[in-house]
């Protein structure tokens, strides 16, 4: 199930879950349903009794990540070496526990030096990652009026102004950190959970991406989304003439690509009361419209609580591998 609990189903029950998941996504986001063949293939994946499921030989995809240095022991460089040597990671990411650009700004020079030292020892491309985290700029954590407190009071204009003010600070911080990490030799920057605080959060990230792309033409820029639909905490924010609030993965991909990112990571939320089959079918249906028109790699987030992976700290291998394989087989994703 979406909460990680074990459940047994008959083949016809699994098919019913898959069809319901597809229908739920198609109705909610007004996207085409999966084809009958695609649902049949999902059924084959989910009806297997095997613990692990895997893609065919030759269909392997790239694994990117949000932090490959969170092991509880060893230095961060040692963590990266574990991911490189023991886990066969395709790409690496240096990060810190307080995974927020606002927090990292205070010690960006140290992080840049850690990146420089790490780059001497690792071979795969190593990016630096953190969250745009616009909410951190509101009181009591930051200097700006808290829009989540203003909105319930009906102070809509004040809430919007606060978000716009926070956006400028966030852009300044993200560019500041990226400048330092690029100087430290990073191969790229990861903006993880773009839009977590809503449409202003996403716009700050898009504008930062534009600035970095202009300054550093060869910098990798990965943008992973926070949720399947952009929340309209502001409601009137646009990018490239398009309203960000209410955007689904297909529209998100267009603005991320336009801003100059090199990797797009859609995220589809888990419904913990529904089965993994239902959630995976729903995620595939929501992301599918991205795949044909994307010009940059699409790496769906198949971490805890998104894109079919149960919302539990240690996801069961059968659920994780089925969700991952479904993304590759059905969507032909470029990575995960």
């Amino acid at each position: 199930m979406g909460d990680g609990s074990r459940v047994e189903m008959t083949a016809s029950e699994i098919r019913g879950e898959l069809e319901d998941g597809v229908a739920a996504a198609a109705k909610r986001a007004k996207v085409p349903p999966l084809t009958a063949d695609e649902v049949d293939h999902l059924c084959d994946i989910f009806c297997s009794n095997a613990r692990f499921s895997a893609v065919d030989v030759g269909d392997e995809v790239i694994l990117s990540s949000d932090g490959t240095c969170s092991l509880a022991s060893g230095s961060t460089t040692e963590n990266l070496l574990v991911y490189q040597n023991n886990l066969g990671a395709d790409t690496l990411e240096l990060a810190t526990d307080d995974y927020s650009y606002k927090a990292v700004k205070t010690f960006a020079t140290s992080e840049a030096y850690r990146m420089k030292m790490a780059q001497l020892q690792v071979v795969p491309p190593a990016q630096y990652g953190a969250m745009p985290d616009l909410g951190r700029y509101s009181r009591p954590d930051g200097p700006i009026a808290n829009w989540s407190e203003l909105l319930p009071l009906g102070k809509i204009d004040e809430a919007r102004a606060a978000q716009e003010e926070a956006m400028e600070l966030a852009i300044e911080d993200m560019v500041f950190v990226a400048d330092h990490l690029w100087e430290g030799g990073a191969d790229g920057i990861d903006f993880d959970t773009g839009g977590a605080s809503g449409d202003a959060d996403l716009l700050a990230t898009l504008r930062t991406t534009e600035i970095l792309r202009e300054k550093y033409p060869t910098m990798g820029i990965q943008m992973g989304m926070a949720a399947e639909m952009v929340l309209g905490m502001h409601g009137e924010i646009t990018y490239d003439g398009k309203r960000l609030a209410g955007m689904w993965p297909s529209q998100q991909q267009e603005v991320v690509e336009k801003a100059g990112a090199t990797v797009f990571g859609p995220a589809v939320n888990i419904n913990t009361t529904k089965s993994v089959a239902w959630n995976t079918a729903r995620a595939c249906t929501l992301i599918k419209p991205c795949m044909e028109k994307a010009r940059i790699p699409v790496h769906p987030n198949v971490g805890m609580g998104v894109c079919g992976v149960p919302m539990t700290a240690i996801p069961p291998g059968d659920a994780l591998t089925r969700a991952s394989r479904a993304m590759v087989d059905i969507l032909k994703v470029d990575g995960l």
């Binding site: 030759g58 392997e60 995809v61 790239i62 490189q84 795969p124 990073a186 191969d187 990797v263």
Partner: protein, 101 residues
């Protein structure tokens, strides 16, 4: 794909820093290495290809030797073989000084 066990890091590099989609990135890397796209995820084929080109190997005693390129040295070669600038390599060149480049 398997990282430096295979060619996962090389394909990943073309995605991350060049925005290449998967099939394009696999074709590009395979062509530059002189292998097939199927070979890219084969650790046996790739071990030999990586050793021959000096692109870095899993650093365990049985596989690597002091006389072979490691990490930064391998990235110099990766930049040349893939014909892409690598930021840390460019920084390294800059920091060792023009007189020794």
């Amino acid at each position: 794909m398997g990282g430096i066990r295979t060619a996962g890091d090389l394909v990943g590099r073309m995605q991350m820093t060049r925005g290449m989609r998967l099939e394009e990135a696999k074709r590009y890397v395979a062509e530059r290495l002189g292998v097939s796209t199927m070979d890219l995820s084969d650790p046996v084929v790739m071990r030999e290809a990586r050793r021959e080109l000096g692109l870095g190997l899993i650093p365990v005693d049985e596989l690597v030797f002091a006389g072979e390129p490691a990490a930064m040295e391998a990235k110099f070669r990766i930049a040349r073989v893939l014909d892409v600038p690598i930021n840390s390599v460019e920084r390294f060149k800059e920091h060792i000084g023009a007189e020794v480049r």
